[in-house]
């Protein structure tokens, strides 16, 4: 049986298990001895029947390829099996291709290997089917024994559900930890060749390293300061756009707008967050940047065709919904009694907003702004397209600057050696970026949590 048929078999047997378990519980229910509802006993029996069988099947599917690989190796004569690993790999690939083809091969050795493989595959399939069937059935039989009734079925089910939930959150956590560790170790390899202080405090970024020993070329300098300055410059411009626009529109939407306008305007504003960043990117590069250059030239300023200003403005527009949506939520969450209390004292609406509502919602607003800031710092596509590649240490928004994310992209596109400092520098930059946004997120979460306690 193939795996989908096996899966159906397990499902069917679990269903049967459910009904037998429930029926048995019903018959005991007449004596009034049950510790949970009959359906709980049904579910518990189904779990006994289904879960071990499913686990077995999963493990089998994962382990089967390596087992079959071993089978092929064993079937090969020593003369071939003792070759160097590269040639052997090629040989086995041929065999695998032939198996996938399904056709017969003239070479007797390969033919023998194929036959052995098919034999082993068949055996394994029969064995698996038999085992799964037995396991499922034994679950049902276990459920049919008298023991079932003495179990707190509901508690067992809840424990199993809890275990499943722990597993799911575990997957997310393990993935995060894995990414962080891999970035960390690669970054440490980078710091073996480039000193940490040169990286952190160097003001010159030119990551060109010689690819061949005889090639002329610089040894590269990896001072990350210009990148971080560029990132901060663009993020600052973006925040200068997003915070006032976002906050004021949130105040309008939550305090002044009619319910009808709000139901239309809020989703429309949030639509901004749904525009792909690459669209923002070419909008910035093809529309905003030329416009700024022409506007600057008309008043006698020299503006680079890729400027921090263009990228920052467009990025600011992109993160408006982060600020406005979160601020709107926290402003709306300020209890109506606060407004009543202030209005009842003879405060005007704007006095109430300025002196009661905004202070009360401030922690939440700050949280939203920090989340938007971490989004701006990590944003890549807009800056790749609109901010340029020149790692210039400047605070002039009309210059072309580059950011951490842009440099990571350029370091890792094209052919690269995996152990050159140039490639590894990307991991170091990634680590720094990750640390920055992590700190911002932690601060934001901390502030938001503090806010929640305020009215309880």
């Amino acid at each position: 049986m193939n795996s989908s048929a096996l899966f159906l078999l397990i499902t069917g047997l679990s269903l049967i298990a459910y009904f037998t378990g429930r029926r048995q519980a019903f018959s005991h229910a007449l004596q009034g001895k049950l510790k949970a509802l009959p359906k709980h006993y049904g579910i518990l029996t189904a779990m006994w029947s289904g879960i071990p069988a499913l686990l077995l099947m999963l493990m089998w599917i994962m382990l089967q390829p390596s087992y079959l690989h071993q089978q092929i190796l064993h079937s090969l004569p020593d003369s071939i099996a003792n070759q160097s690993s590269d040639t052997l790999e090629l040989y086995i690939n041929n065999i695998n291709l032939a198996i996938a083809d399904g056709s017969d091969i003239d070479d007797p050795i390969i033919q023998k290997a194929i036959n052995g493989y098919r034999q082993a595959e068949n055996n394994s399939r029969y064995l698996l089917t038999g085992l799964v069937f037995l396991l499922s059935l034994s679950g049902i039989i276990f459920g049919l024994t008298k023991k079932l009734i003495n179990i707190h079925a509901r508690i067992s089910i809840e424990r199993a559900v809890k275990g499943f939930l722990v597993l799911c959150s575990g997957v997310a956590i393990v993935t995060t930890v894995g990414i962080v560790l891999s970035v960390l170790f690669e970054a440490l390899r980078f710091f073996e060749s480039i000193s940490f202080f040169d990286f952190m405090f160097g003001t010159n970024w030119s990551p060109q390293t010689a690819i061949r020993d005889d090639q002329a070329g610089s040894s590269g300098s990896f001072g990350a300061i210009p990148l971080f300055v560029g990132t901060m410059l663009i993020s600052a411009i973006a925040m200068m756009i997003a915070v006032p626009v976002g906050l004021l529109s949130a105040i309008y939407l939550s305090e002044y707008a009619t319910a009808r306008f709000r139901t239309i305007a809020k989703p429309t504003l949030e639509l901004l967050a749904g525009i792909p960043t690459v669209v923002y990117g070419f909008f910035a590069a093809l529309s905003v940047a030329p416009f700024i250059r022409e506007a600057g030239e008309s008043i006698g300023l020299s503006v680079a065709s890729e400027s921090a200003l263009a990228a920052g403005i467009v990025m600011g527009v992109m993160i408006i919904p982060f600020v406005s949506s979160l601020s709107d939520d926290v402003i709306s969450a300020v209890p109506q009694s606060m407004r009543d209390g202030s209005l009842g004292l003879g405060a005007t609406k704007s006095e109430t907003i300025k002196q009661v509502i905004i202070p009360a919602a401030l922690p939440g607003i700050v949280g939203g702004v920090l989340l938007a800031a971490s989004r701006a710092i990590g944003e890549t596509m807009i800056v790749v397209m609109a901010a340029g590649l020149a790692a210039k240490l400047t605070a002039n928004p009309l210059d072309a600057v580059t950011t951490v994310t842009v440099q990571i992209v350029t370091l890792l596109t094209g052919d690269q050696e995996f152990d050159s400092p140039k490639t590894l520098a990307a991991f170091a930059l990634g680590l720094m970026l990750f640390a920055t946004t992590l700190i911002l997120n932690v601060i934001a979460l901390h502030i938001v949590r503090k806010y929640r306690e305020q009215y309880e």
Partner: protein, 298 residues
């Protein structure tokens, strides 16, 4: 101004210790004609009132919440508005300082005057009105600021103090009048939300009187408090009567009897009966009032 009460006045007040079943059916038939009348029984109109409402109707969208309400509130008196839930007493209270303006679906017709000025006149600024007619809410709602700033909020808005020491004085007097100063004098900078429920409510009262209003509206100010905190608030209301006119909505009839001089009974959006508190509670003239205060419903 008692109207068509002849049928009832002849009938003596029945104490609720008497068997009620046959009484109820008996009275219901004799008084049913009164129930149809829209006219308020009792002394709803008085001389030289502070507040005066005439033929007030309040609507939420199409639903009418108040029907033809006419009620005067006298100077330096405490008037209790009682009645079953949903009878419109809170809505009525909120029309008096135009707090209902914040509800878009709310419409009001009729005439409401404060010292003879129509408060729904176009020239009347609701912001200034609310400074004259303060409000204490059912649930204590201190701002998330310090105790001091909570009380200083109103005076700062209206520029009542020119110097910091004047402001200090206003804050301290208000807290003293609200009977809270001794409990909080050592922690004026602590957050107002950290006080107990009863203290928070007294803080809100201090906040309200800090802007020296003429009238204080109280919407079930003690309904979320324990009996001891309630007793303190009730004493306070009695003291405040010297300086302010107070209208209080309450669900507790004992409270109404303890703190008020006059009582108005609301039923289904109508003011059924108005009179001296002692008269309302000992000798109600309307069947509905009697049913309510004897606990037959509500």
């Amino acid at each position: 101004m008692s109207i068509n009460t002849s049928a009832k006045i002849s009938q003596p007040f029945q104490a609720n210790t008497e068997p009620m079943l046959e009484e109820t059916s008996n009275k219901a038939t004799t008084k049913s004609s009164d129930n149809k009348s829209d006219i308020t029984i009792g002394e709803n109109i008085i001389e030289n009132p502070k507040f005066s409402t005439r033929n007030v109707d309040v609507f939420y969208d199409d639903k009418q919440a108040i029907f033809n309400a006419s009620l005067d509130i006298g100077r330096n008196e405490v008037i209790a508005l009682i009645g079953p839930s949903g009878c419109g007493k809170s809505t009525f209270l909120r029309t008096l300082n135009r707090m209902n303006d914040t509800i878009p679906s709310c419409r009001i017709s009729g005439e409401i005057t404060l010292d003879g000025e129509n408060i729904y006149d176009k020239k009347m600024d609701p912001v200034l009105l609310r400074a004259r007619v303060g409000m204490v809410f059912q649930k204590a709602n201190p701002f998330p600021k310090s105790i001091y700033d909570n009380v200083a909020y109103g005076p700062r808005l209206h520029g009542l103090a020119r110097t910091n020491s004047e402001l200090d004085e206003i804050v301290i007097t208000s807290l003293e009048k609200a009977g809270l100063f001794n409990e909080v004098k050592d922690r004026l900078t602590a957050p107002g939300t950290g006080l107990s429920g009863g203290q928070q409510q007294r803080l809100c009262i201090a906040r309200t009187i800090s802007v020296s209003p003429e009238v204080i509206l109280m919407d079930e100010p003690a309904s979320a408090l324990d009996p001891i905190a309630t007793a303190i608030i009730e004493e306070l209301i009695d003291e405040l009567r010297v300086n302010f006119t107070i209208a209080i909505v309450t669900h507790s009839m004992q409270q109404a009897a303890r703190v008020s001089q006059r009582t108005a009974y609301f039923h289904m959006g109508k003011i059924i009966e108005v009179g001296n508190t002692s008269q309302i509670f000992t000798n109600p003239r309307h069947q509905l009032t009697e049913n309510y205060i004897t606990g037959k419903f509500g």
